[in-house]
């Protein structure tokens, strides 16, 4: 299974202040360990919301809002995507991260394609089948 791990923003990250050398170095080591374990699929830091934009959707209306955004605790400063056998494995990995100061990092399992399979209704499935047969027939002519 895959999980996405969200690292929250804080006043520092929003101010574009880089973390200290020691933390950076510990974080690099943590990331290396994840790569060496074959667990790391992706991971990126996000720029402060001063560089962000938002789009609000209402009916056919689209409103564009420029950052920065105020609610720093709910903002994301970085994410990882990990390949794990269980969410418990993700938890054990995350515990090894060099975070501190009461920060809360959230792990969210990602939907598998098979999760959607169960939700698809029979009509859509039949349509899917019919379309494939039709494509195959057309290929043969």
């Amino acid at each position: 299974m895959r999980v996405m791990v969200f690292v929250p923003a804080d006043k520092q990250s929003e101010a574009g202040v880089m973390p200290g050398q020691e933390l950076i170095s510990k974080m690099m080591k943590f990331n290396e360990d994840l790569v060496k374990a074959g667990v790391m699929l992706d991971g990126q830091g996000l720029t402060p919301t001063s560089k962000a934009k938002r789009v609000r959707f209402s009916g056919s209306q689209r409103t564009v809002i420029d950052g920065p955004f105020a609610e720093s605790k709910e903002l994301v400063a970085g994410y990882w995507i990990w390949q794990v056998k269980s969410i418990e494995e993700a938890v054990e990995w995350l515990k090894r991260a060099p975070f501190d100061g009461g920060v809360e990092v959230t792990i969210r399992p990602i939907f598998e394609p098979t999760d959607f399979g169960k939700e698809l209704n029979p009509e859509l499935l039949a349509k899917d089948e019919g379309l494939r047969v039709e494509i195959q027939r057309q290929k043969m002519s």
């Binding site: 074959g38 390949q83 494995e89 938890v91 598998e112 039949a126 494939r132 043969m140």
Partner: protein
Amino acid sequence: MSSGATHRAIEAVWRIESARLIGALMRVVHDVGVAEDLAQEAFIAALERWPATGIPENPGAWLMTTAKNRAFDHLRQRKMRQRKHGEFQQDTAGLPPAGPDFDESVDDDVGDDLLRLIFIACHPVLSKDGRAALTLRLLGGLTTDEIARAFLVPEPTIAQRIIRAKRTLGEACVPFEMPHGLDLPTRLSSVMEVIYLIFNEGYVATNGDDWTRPELCQEALRLGRILAELLDDEAEVHGLVALMELHASRLPARTGASGKPILLLDQDRSRWDRLLLHRGLAALGRAEALKQPLGPYALQAAIAACHARTRVAAETDWTRIVALYDALVELTQSPIVELNRAVAVSMAFGPAAGLELVDALEGERALKSYHLLPSVRGDLLMKLGRHAEARVEFERAASLAQNARERTLLLARAEESRTWPSSGRPM
């Protein structure tokens, strides 16, 4: 924490730590079976103590210390037994205190321990089945039951394979040192063969379950990625990882609604997993950057990359794929690869050109019971309007097919070719 939750957490720690632990123990006791037993004892101790004490801050170190104490006991008893029988074996493992120090988990040592374990589990003296089962057990931390369900064989069968494998390693007096020099390519080849075998076992499309076949692909991918980090100057390892990442990227598009397999050219490419696709291309890039001649895995990955980079099947660069197959055929001399090449040739230069190559393969002993030979032949004959001959081929292919779903598919194609009038236009 509920006891169920604690148990799951301890199992998660085991998954993270067990291979490293077994590798370190093996370095000392020079016996993979004993190393696993000692590691298991530490695991059991964790299951007994941690629900009460909580999971320690450094669970790896706790397990290592516990196992180390058991290892010292074991070595002491072994020395006593040897003295008793008047044996004077030069035990290269030696006894502590001067001996190897578990506490020095310098990253290099950990890497070496892991690599040594991988090489042992995949030793060519073992059967392929034995290697696969042992690898999933020692490196994946899978239970016998999980491995059995993954390979769709009874649990006792897997248990036997693992027992037999350990015994064979003991009897063959397999040295536990890191392979090097002329040995290395063969040993590495054996490792990659096992990982790829596990991957392909999982690549057959099925429904999701607790631990079933799609998860096998992920396990193989994980092992491949670990190996690529340990041996990052080996182009073929990156090639293997690239191949697996690229194939895995297609998993979401590989099965139709009723579990029907969908061929590559018919797949809805918007369902391809972009993350794995890009990882595959990146791994291939790493292989190519090493400027070594591309081996079979890297070449297959390069072929897969041709498809991966193309938005729609119709835009596929078949000429390039043919060129890659040319190189692959030369390297492997494999009739199966030649068959795949024939398909690529037919796509690049027309069905008649492909059929010529396929016909040349008719006598190949290796392809005698290979259902894809008549299947490909049937497909090419259909494209050339030779429907009656195509039907015969599809029926022949169906009779050879191992997989029930594939058989159904081939029989359906045979039936379809029957309904085509000789004018070649569909009814």
